[in-house]
Symmetry: C2
């Protein structure tokens, strides 16, 4: 990636952001030859572990699969559409599952909200450590739940983690998308400040 | 807070974490005399704005109320139990609402998950900037939705933001809780790694 492209990828923000937040983005081009060392992977998982949750319920579970493992292939096969094409190059795939009901069958209202936070902490730590992350919603959740015997835990996202790869190796239309600028709604559309 | 207490509050982690993640915790003691400057508050909101979401739907809305504003009091009055006691000392309260259905009434499946991520980004930026954050689930969501005319957006959390205050000023049992060590399940209970 050139410097110009790198700049394009940084958030167009009206106030300073922590680099791990400003420069974070979700690529599809991962380097299929590079793995993640144990300590860096553990840092990402510890970040998720120490995330806050409603009443400290910690309503999350993570299936972490390194490229080359049987579990990795099991996950790739259950992804949808284009995800199967690019995600197979990631170093690690992580199924994040939410405990939507507790042992007594009572709904845990903040389970998916809390899981989102835990994955956010995980991805921010990973970006801080030089990795990139791309979360996916396109997969067969029920098939993943069965494959990994997740019981009451429902898969909500699959995160690809790895080292940024060569965008030119992606097929179209993924290749074009890879260099599109990051966009968001204006701040005043999403937040109202009462002073 | 003494150095010993500060150490107690840092995550007991098996791998290095970004300080904004390791040292982040959710206090109830906020300094009622200190506010948040505009730029720091804007950084926190920009962090939420640049958070990822399914298909870049950005299914979130934030009602941000500074202490002393009418909106702040409106929020405090709709909190539950002990939250009304301590949260009134926060510099800012933020109602985070999820767009659970789109304009055509179609369910947005990842709305609360994505909202959790956006609030995580917000709180991490805030901690990085020397603030503390405490998210609450205890409040009357329907009353908040009506009070702020949120329509299809459903309040999922209220976050107190501010500067750490004097724990001794808290009533019991909040005072005792404030110095309790942070705890989490062991990593191998929440994550399975397939190598």
């Amino acid at each position: 990636m050139s410097l110009a492209e790198s700049t394009l990828r940084s958030a167009d923000t009206s106030a300073p952001l922590l680099p791990a937040l400003a420069d974070r983005w979700s690529p599809r081009a991962f380097d299929p030859s590079i793995g993640i060392d144990d300590l860096t992977l553990r840092s990402a998982l510890e970040a998720a572990r120490w995330s806050p949750s409603a009443g400290n319920t910690q309503p999350w579970r993570f299936i972490v699969a390194r490229r080359g493992s049987e579990a990795f292939n099991t996950i790739v096969e259950r992804l949808a559409g284009f995800n199967t094409v690019w995600a197979a190059s990631a170093a690690v795939l992580i199924v994040a599952a939410a405990e939507v009901v507790d042992e007594e069958g009572k709904e845990l209202r903040w389970a998916t909200y809390d899981l989102g936070q835990a994955v956010a902490h995980l991805t921010i730590q990973a970006h801080h450590d030089g990795l990139h992350a791309h979360q996916m919603g396109g997969f067969d959740a029920e098939a993943l739940r069965e494959a990994f015997d997740l019981g009451r835990y429902v898969p909500v996202s699959v995160t690809a983690l790895g080292t940024l790869g060569d965008a030119d190796a992606l097929p179209e239309p993924l290749r074009t998308r890879e260099s599109a600028p990051r966009t968001r709604r204006p701040l005043d559309e999403i937040a109202v400040v009462h002073a």
